[in-house]
Subunit: 384 residues, 2 copies
């Protein structure tokens, strides 16, 4: 049968450092589990935009990536407008960040970010119950606030007006909400198997084994807030086994800090999801452990994309100092996703996840070289 | 001379309970400082919307409030769409929440929420440095994501599209950013006086005594993000004594959790400010202490509005159980604001703030009746 093919894009800064450990792990797992797995590496540092007339990726990048089953991305070089003077120049000449290009181009309409407080990971919250945090934040990744419709009238003049139009479709709203309910059911099943069920109260008082919390700001952004709420209520009817809950985005941010352990699956719009996934990542151990999965669940012929949420940390790049933990978790998630169709990949993903989690539980974020951490993971994987 | 006149709107749930303690304190301060201060109380519970054909306030509410110097608001009855079935009914029949109505009607274009970790307040973050958190989040309160432009096409049908247009003007952008810089300067001055200066690094390495951090999401919402960034750079030239910094909203949420003590003044758009102020409130002690000030700084003939950010907690309303701490801090803030024109009011505001802070430092959130806490504040104010 056909091999599973991965496009590896290390990107900038520490991206190549941490990706290298992923490739070592993949190579090991390939032999260990006899996987039909191949990959190609595409350097394409986005910091070379000036050689590409302002583009972050080569002109044919999307065509070349299109044939793969998944994209494994290291890190991109944009630390935000404050520290990258290039952004000021780029802002109008460059169309999109590679992340947005891939999400749009391959219709990766789900962005899924697990926020599970793992043993050994940083704990920012004082309440010891935060150790039980285990939620999955699902972000609508294809429309909404990110449609890029808008502009500037009378640019630079006193009477300037800038607009941005958010566009939400019932179609995309329904598919993301339905995806959330499916995930909730799956998580309940997994918890059942491991003998660790949880319960969540439905608004009517019933106790159920999973929950989806819908986020909106419907008291201020009413139009799509109402549509989201209505679609949510309709889809929920198909999942009587899953409890439902609503939060306004501002209240959700507070509750993420006050009681993150109370959440299960959270579904949010593109921008609100961007904010909540970052917040969820940090309260459940920080960017050092957080993977981000950009998925196209209904067209497997298009590659999904997997990236750690951390930045490119150019100051420590190439020094064998970057912590590859988040990258390795991300790699495990990718195998897990690909494994939905090929069980051997799922087994390999699970083994990698367990090895990285065990390493983290034992060592926390103690200072080790990138290589040393990679070695430790290979040793734990064993079996060769 | 003319008395300062306050419109008191207790609102719903525990609103009347906590407002009562504010009125006791105001009465006490009026005598103690010989203040020329009057108030009228307007009950107007928003939960009576069904008697008002869906309106949260009486039809002539805005006209009646217009003559006052300030509005002191208790709490409004909307705990969010999840728990208030009325919201579902109201959503299309009612134009606006009273908060939005007042902000728009009286052009309260600043929403200012101090996030100062006070002794005795809850501490959600594990890092002991969080005790030093002292920031001021300033939210653009008049436009942006909250302009209410948009609608639903093919409502309820499979092909439905919902839109929401964000509108930002250079005019409003400049005034809110300038307000932020003014506040930063004022804070630096106050710190100087109390002998507790702080320093912040400017991008060029210079160490300055205050900072304004601008929030945008300019890597995705580029048009207004660029306008904000440009206006920020221009206005900053007038404040060479204030350090500047940028954060993307998602990164800002993380940094609020990771290192909130590093911020001074933060300026954000209406929706991003809504999110960040709630988050800042919770990480600096929670809603039990957080005031929200809706200000019209350039037209003092229009009332500014002051409210605690907590909800109406209908389950404990009228039971002498609500904690009036946030309401009392809010009242102190109001006096402070009014005191910019009348020094005696500022002195009274300062006395009230000190009394409430001292009470909090001594008792934390220990269980006391609403009255007992009010008594304790009056006793601390002393002088009668
Ligand atoms: C009630 C709601 C419309 C309001 C807002 O979003 O501005 C509230 O959350 C606030 O922050 O005062
Ligand atoms: C780089 C940026 C456009 C992107 C986003 O906002 O989606 C990032 O913050 C993320 O969350 O992956």
């Amino acid at each position: 049968s056909k091999p599973t093919r991965i496009a590896v894009t290390p990107g900038d800064g520490i991206g190549p450092d941490v990706i290298q450990q992923s490739l070592r792990a993949l190579d090991h797992l390939r032999q260990q589990y006899d996987l039909l797995l191949e990959w190609d590496v595409f350097e394409w540092p986005s910091t070379e935009w000036h050689r590409r007339n302002g583009d972050m990726m080569p002109a044919d990048a999307m065509t070349r990536l299109a044939g793969y089953d998944a994209i494994l991305l290291g890190a991109l070089g944009d630390p935000g407008p404050s520290r990258d003077p290039h952004r000021y120049v780029l802002s109008d000449s460059v169309s999109l960040s590679p992340l947005l290009q891939m999400r749009k181009g391959f219709d990766q309409w789900v962005c899924e970010r697990p926020a599970h407080q793992l043993k050994g990971a940083r704990q920012y919250l004082a309440d010891p119950r935060a150790a039980d945090t285990d939620m999955l934040v699902i972000r609508e990744n294809s429309e909404g606030e990110y449609v890029g419709q808008g502009g500037r009238l009378r640019q630079g003049q006193p009477g300037e007006i800038a607009t941005q139009t958010e566009i939400f479709t019932r179609f995309a709203t329904e598919r993301i909400i339905r995806f959330g309910f499916e995930r909730a059911r799956k998580r309940a099943g997994e918890r059942h198997e491991t003998g660790k069920p949880r319960t969540f109260g439905n608004p009517d008082g019933e106790q159920l084994e999973s929950q989806v919390c819908l986020i909106t700001k419907r008291n201020a952004l009413r139009h799509w807030g109402d549509m989201y709420t209505e679609v949510f209520a309709e889809v929920a009817k198909d999942y009587p086994d899953v409890a439902t809950h609503h939060e306004l985005v501002d209240a959700a941010c507070m509750k993420f800090v006050q009681a993150p352990w109370a959440f299960d699956v959270v579904v949010a719009s593109n921008l609100q999801g961007d904010i909540l996934t970052d917040l969820a990542a940090v309260i459940s151990g920080g960017l050092g452990v957080a993977p981000s999965c950009n998925l196209n669940p209904d067209d497997r012929s298009q590659p999904s994309m997997f990236e750690p949420t951390h930045g490119s940390a150019p100051d420590i790049a190439g020094q064998n100092r970057a912590d590859p933990t988040a990258m390795l978790f991300t790699t495990a998630r990718m195998l897990d996703w690909l494994g939905e169709e090929r069980p051997a990949l799922a087994r390999a993903g699970h083994a990698l996840y367990s090895a990285v989690a065990a390493d983290l539980a034992e060592h926390g974020h103690e200072e080790r070289t990138t290589d040393a951490l990679g070695d430790a993971i290979l040793a734990r994987l064993g079996g060769q």
